[in-house]
């Protein structure tokens, strides 16, 4: 009695979701990674990731639905089938490849340290001894910091924009973030005054090919092939170049995809 009512209720609640789930490709996106993804004042999503996702959908000739998901639960939500693919600037790493599959990379930009101008002269573990490093949780950057600076205190935050909020707030001494996101969303803003990207530009790989890819669940070869074909298609027909120009004054296209 109790169970049947509960399940009837559950069915009623999720009926709407189930009805449309069949023929729509749902895309997990993030919203805290400008200029790749952000939420405008009217609640609409925009950014390079969002435009790429829409371009891919048009190319694949499928109907798409964007599902906004916090970074922290992105892969769990994909494997729980909350959506079918992730277009959220997710780096291709060996660690992630154990649980999800990736498309070919669709962009590649380096990571860099961001700190007060002139605060540091070098960036070896000795130079940064005892300094708190701010970095995004569950990211290859966090793994890199943990491996390279094992003795430093690390502040792990839930979203990339928070990396810079915390840096500006002074909760850490130096941040390690995306060179593009820090440039666009922080250094160009009033709060970013006096801060600069420092040290070398680092392309993180952990042994995988690197770059940023579109994640799909394991054993979904058909969808993965479709995405790769569509990706090659939008690079071929110039859509990709147009989007690249819209957001950046430099190339973000991965070496491997260059013609």
């Amino acid at each position: 009695m109790r169970l049947s009512i509960a399940s009837a209720l559950a069915t009623a609640l999720i009926a709407a979701g189930a009805a449309q789930a069949a023929d729509v490709v749902r895309i997990g996106v993030e919203g805290n990674y400008p200029p790749f993804s952000q939420v405008a004042a009217d609640g609409t999503l925009s950014g390079f990731d969002i435009d790429i996702a829409n371009a891919l959908c048009a190319k694949m000739e499928v109907q798409c639905e964007m599902v906004q998901q916090e970074w922290d639960g992105m892969i769990p939500a994909l494997t729980a089938k909350k959506f079918d693919m992730i277009v959220a600037s997710m780096s291709i790493t060996e660690k992630r490849k154990q649980v999800v599959d990736f498309s070919d990379p669709y962009y590649d930009v380096p990571s860099r340290f961001i700190a007060k101008e002139g605060a540091f002269t070098g960036y070896t573990p000795d130079d940064l001894k005892g300094k708190t490093i701010i970095v995004l949780r569950n990211s290859p950057r966090a793994d890199y910091i943990a491996a390279t600076y094992p003795d430093n205190p690390v502040l792990l935050v839930d979203k990339e924009t928070a990396v810079y909020l915390e840096l500006a707030a002074g909760r850490g001494d130096i941040a390690f973030g995306s060179s593009v996101v820090s440039g666009e969303s922080f250094l160009k803003q009033p709060e970013g005054k006096g801060f600069a990207q420092v040290g070398e530009a680092i392309f993180l790989t952990d042994g995988a090919d690197g770059g940023v890819g579109i994640a799909v669940r394991k054993n979904e070869e058909e969808l993965k092939t479709k995405i790769n074909t569509a990706l090659a298609g939008i690079i071929e027909d110039g859509t990709y170049a147009k989007l690249e120009d819209k957001y950046f004054d430099f190339d973000v296209i991965p070496q491997s995809a260059k013609k």
């Binding site: 769990p76 502040l155 909020l165």
Partner: protein
């Protein structure tokens, strides 16, 4: 069903998280208890100039989610240069301080109302008798008023401590790695529910049982002048009491 190698691998992390949860609970509850004793007296005062400010404080705290209070303190305050340049900044910089402050402000508000209710329900005769015996105001408070109020509030207070223990899970949203944060990280890395959230559930369940039993013993100690059977069957009130009863 359960992958024991994951359990063993993540056990040290959970053990550490458990200690952090307990630490958060102890520091918030102890400061909350200290603050709410004088505040509850003020709240139960006959003088509106003393009573009203305390009412406003508990009303605002009890009328807003703890998560929002925590976010205002942790993410909100650094918005102001004056805060970042003030002498207090080294404190507000720390997620620990913000979590402690938010939890303390929160539990103090609920505990204050609880104690104030208990104080208000003190039989007038007790006070009159104490006064008639020539006790000073302070003695009346210390020896008559407070012990009685504490006894009456105890079952409810035990409930508040358990609720606060559960509330420490919110510290996971401000970079503090307590039980729930460990569980979320284990889930993200291994994508298994029983070994992550299940493990956390076992830990919280254990803590709840220990706390509940502890308070039952305390009640038995403080309320032993009453029928022990009656005190055992008296269920603590359900859920956090809210403004409407104030």
């Amino acid at each position: 069903m359960i992958n024991w190698s994951i359990v063993i691998e993540t056990l040290p992390a959970f053990w550490h998280g458990l200690q952090i949860t307990l630490l958060l609970l102890v520091i918030s509850i102890s400061s909350g208890l200290l603050l709410s004793i004088p505040l509850s007296v003020a709240r139960a005062s006959a003088n509106p100039w003393i009573r009203t400010p305390v009412w406003l404080y508990t009303y605002v705290i009890r009328g807003t989610p703890l998560l929002v209070q925590l976010f205002v303190l942790y993410y909100g305050l650094p918005q102001f240069d004056s805060v970042r340049e003030s002498a207090l900044w080294p404190l507000f910089r720390s997620p620990w301080f913000c979590a402690w402050l938010a939890f303390t402000l929160n539990t103090t508000a609920y505990t204050t109302e609880m104690f104030a209710g208990a104080i208000r329900s003190t039989p007038a005769g007790e006070i009159e008798a104490a006064r008639a015996m020539g006790l000073t105001r302070f003695q009346v408070f210390r020896d008559v008023f407070w012990p009685g109020a504490w006894r009456r509030a105890l079952p409810q207070y035990g409930n508040e401590v358990v609720q606060m223990m559960h509330a420490t899970a919110l510290a996971s949203t401000v970079t503090i790695v307590e039980i729930l944060r460990v569980a979320r990280d284990v889930y993200t890395n291994y994508l298994v529910v029983p070994e992550s959230f299940g493990m956390a559930a076992v830990l919280y369940l254990m803590l709840t049982v220990i706390l509940t039993q502890g308070f039952r013993l305390l009640e038995r100690h403080y309320l032993r002048h009453l029928d022990p059977k009656a005190s055992r069957t008296q269920a603590p009130p359900k859920g956090k009491q809210h403004i409407a009863d104030a």
